[in-house]
């Protein structure tokens, strides 16, 4: 494993709770709330007004910007609220049937357009619009397409389940994505703690010469795009650059499935698989939930919260966001909803840094987290920038290993915001 990236950590994975359970389809909720910005890029503008009736799969918001993706109604019903944040639809369960037809295309451009119109973004959590990713700039040739099946965040098993249950669709989607970006081969990277997925994938690609499956070391953050590329081909994506610079495009497992469905059935992105897990939930499982479903409905579907539940996390435990309320909708980027009991919630006071360098050793980006935090604390932003604060991927490895329990990532986020704000003002 010498070609793997340096640093990284080995937190407790806690995946067994949900890894064996098939994905459950959730019934449509009474109401969905679809935020206008569910992706990286320009937010969408509503195409409907309050009181309109929409069909399932109807495009309800879009943007003129290239780096953006439209939003579709995940249910049929009546628009009950449109503001600058979101659109809410009251579900008409009778009419909520999606119908579409296979899409045809004649060239890469048309294929990319289909992907864009389906509103597909990176479903691993990064939510970068997929059609942008598969559109290399002038003069750049893509030779390799990669599927990110690492799923290194603890608890999360969505990609794992999707690979097992929708592997065929994923391969089909990968072929489409390969075509869209012009790559000649596909490498599927899967962490070695999912041997069943590796085996299943190997079987599926047995007759596909352009495909390869590679098992990668179990180490967080193996699923981070640049780190996974390093592990798979031994090359480092340039700092502040993109995989494109190496002729590589990488997409998530579920994204490939979504692309397949968009082309094969004309189905835009209406739902996604969410891992609902953690000690505070009664029935941990993977759920295919319509976008816009509230966390409350999702949790209800999974048997509700245990009385000791104290912390709700949108995403994985390393990079996810803590939610203060259950009235939050599931969006395109929601890979998991984790519920932690009170005794698992860390409420440490910050000790002084003892310069133990654990964070330095753990940082997959080879940064010096202790100095970065010090500089941000003392508002020495130039110094922080000089030692590459902006290259931090906020993976949380440093905070995880810190014996002084310093919320390093928190400082970095603050520092980055301040630097961005300052740069904007200049």
């Amino acid at each position: 494993m010498s070609k793997s990236f340096s640093g990284g950590i080995h937190p407790a994975y806690n995946k067994a709770m949900t890894a064996e359970i098939p994905i459950a389809d959730m019934p449509l909720p009474d109401k969905v709330r679809l935020p206008l910005s569910q992706h990286i890029g320009a937010p969408c503008k509503p195409l409907v007004a309050k009181g309109d009736t929409v069909a399932m799969g109807q495009k309800i918001a879009d943007s003129d910007s290239f780096v953006s993706a439209p939003i579709h109604a995940s249910v049929a019903g009546e628009v009950v609220l449109v503001d600058d944040q979101a659109i809410e639809i009251k579900t008409d369960k009778e009419k909520s049937r999606f119908s579409g037809a296979a899409q045809s295309y004649n060239n890469q451009g048309e294929l990319r357009q289909i992907i864009r119109e389906a509103g597909i973004v990176g479903l691993g959590g990064a939510t970068f619009p997929t059609h942008v990713k598969v559109t290399p700039p002038e003069g750049v040739t893509i030779h390799t397409f990669m599927i990110n099946g690492a799923e290194c965040e603890p608890f999360l098993t969505t990609d794992h389940r999707v690979m097992l249950e929708q592997g065929q669709e994923m391969i089909a989607g990968s072929k489409l994505l390969m075509e869209a970006c012009g790559a000649e081969k596909t490498i599927i990277g899967i962490e070695k703690n999912k041997p069943d997925a590796i085996e299943h994938m190997s079987k599926l690609i047995a007759d596909e010469p352009a495909f390869a499956v590679t098992g990668v070391q179990v180490k967080y953050p193996q699923g981070w795009e640049k780190q996974l590329i390093k592990s798979l081909v031994g090359q480092e994506v340039p700092d502040k650059g993109l995989p494109l610079d190496l002729g590589i495009v990488m997409n998530n497992v579920a994204t490939a499935v979504a692309v397949h469905r968009a082309v094969e059935y004309g189905e835009p992105l209406l739902n996604r698989v969410v891992t609902v897990s953690g000690s505070g939930i009664n029935k941990p499982q993977n759920v295919r939930a319509p976008l816009g479903t509230s966390v409350a409905d999702l949790v209800e579907f999974c048997g509700g919260l245990k009385p000791e539940a104290a912390k709700i996390i949108d995403g994985g435990p390393m990079m996810g966001r803590a939610l203060s309320t259950l009235d939050t909708p599931i969006t395109k980027g929601t890979s998991g909803i984790l519920v932690f009991n009170r005794d698992e919630v860390h409420l440490f006071s910050e000790d002084p840094c003892i310069r133990c360098a654990s964070c330095v050793d753990a940082c997959p980006s080879r940064l010096l987290p202790n100095y970065l935090a010090l500089y941000v604390k003392r508002e020495m932003l130039d110094e922080a920038e000089e030692i590459n604060l902006m290259s931090c991927i906020e993976c949380g490895c440093c905070s995880y290993v810190c014996p002084s329990k310093i919320p390093l990532v928190h400082y970095f986020q603050r520092g980055k915001q301040e630097i961005n704000a300052r740069n904007r003002n200049q």
């Binding site: 939610l323 440490f348 003892i354 980006s365 010096l368």
Partner: protein, 321 residues
């Protein structure tokens, strides 16, 4: 469902290490050398170790908490580490009042005058040793030979005649030096015990190999060159230099002191090499019998500079040009 849930920055799971656990594990790693020191030097050694450790812990409690509750005295364990290390690098015959002053200098001047844990530039134990060494050079260079088995059965605290340490010219076999049956500071004589501690620290991931290797390696190279030029090049000479004095102890417990060593990987190696070179130059060419203290203190002052010039290349930087 309007419950308020706990919010906080990511990550939401944290590793098991705490400052306390790190410090107390260092204390555990110091157990073999402490035990070896007590076995070799008897009750005197025990008293020095206890005095140094307890004084350091009490002073730390007074400075930080202004009370002497048990929890304050135990604290985060960093004072215990500094105090114990200080005790281990003193001669077993050090008068106890001197030990108290040393511990006070280490904790008050070496640590809290700089702002307490994490802010001290110099290793507190070494500041203390430098202070007492300069204040009472004779007491600090008076060594007593180790106890023999018969000493143990007859009397535990012996009024042994002072004898030379290996660096002071005493001749010992390498095996004697490996086991620690020579005159010297309480924790510095037994290479075996030091290595046991080192193995524990490495296995537990508290120390990195770079600084110790750079230190021992550069010292060995200097010893090799020196003995080569002297015409008596032999592996035993090098092994002798490495096991004499406080070099091995420092390699495992002092240049790996987290607070006062660089955080970058290259930096740790450079730091070790620098400490080794200065230590050997002092040993071989200057009037001080042992260069470990000043070698490391000098390099401690260089740490911010080393860190500054060894900032690692960020992920992907290599390929960017």
């Amino acid at each position: 469902m309007t419950d308020k849930f706990v919010v906080g920055p990511s990550p939401h799971v944290l590793g098991p290490k705490t400052v306390k656990s790190v410090m107390w594990e260092v204390v555990i790693a110091l157990a073999p050398v402490s035990i070896a020191g007590i076995l070799l030097f008897g009750l005197d050694a025990l008293l020095v170790l206890v005095t140094a450790t307890v004084t350091a812990m009490i002073l730390e409690a007074l400075v930080l908490h202004r009370n002497l509750k048990p929890a304050s005295i135990l604290g985060d364990g960093s004072a215990a580490v500094s105090g114990l290390i200080l005790g281990l690098i003193l001669p077993p015959s050090t008068p106890l009042w001197m030990v108290v002053i040393a511990a006070a200098v280490g904790i008050l001047l070496g640590k809290h005058a700089f702002g307490g844990l994490g802010n001290n530039i110099f290793n507190p134990a070494l500041v203390a040793r430098a202070f007492v060494f300069m204040s009472w050079p004779v007491a600090m260079t008076t060594w007593h030979g180790p106890l023999s088995l018969s000493d143990w059965t007859t009397r535990v605290s012996v009024d042994v005649a002072s004898s030379a340490s290996p660096l002071g010219g005493a001749q010992h076999g390498l095996m004697e030096m490996f086991l620690g049956q020579t005159a010297g500071s309480i924790g510095e004589t037994s290479a075996l015990a030091i290595l046991l501690g080192a193995i524990f620290l490495i296995v537990r991931g508290h120390i990195d190999w770079r600084a110790p290797l750079g230190y021992v390696g550069s010292a060995a190279v200097v010893a090799a060159i020196y003995s080569f030029l002297g015409g008596d090049f032999a592996l035993t000479t090098i092994a002798w230099q490495l096991m004499a004095g406080g070099l091995l102890f420092a390699a495992v417990f002092m240049i790996t002191d987290m607070v006062t060593s660089p955080v970058t990987k290259t930096g740790r190696l450079l730091f070790g090499i620098g400490c080794g070179l200065i230590t050997m130059v002092i040993r071989l060419y200057l009037s001080a019998p042992e260069g470990v203290t000043y070698g490391i203190l000098f390099m401690n002052a260089m740490v911010p500079l080393i860190d500054r010039y060894t900032v690692p290349k960020v992920f992907g930087e290599v390929k960017s040009r």
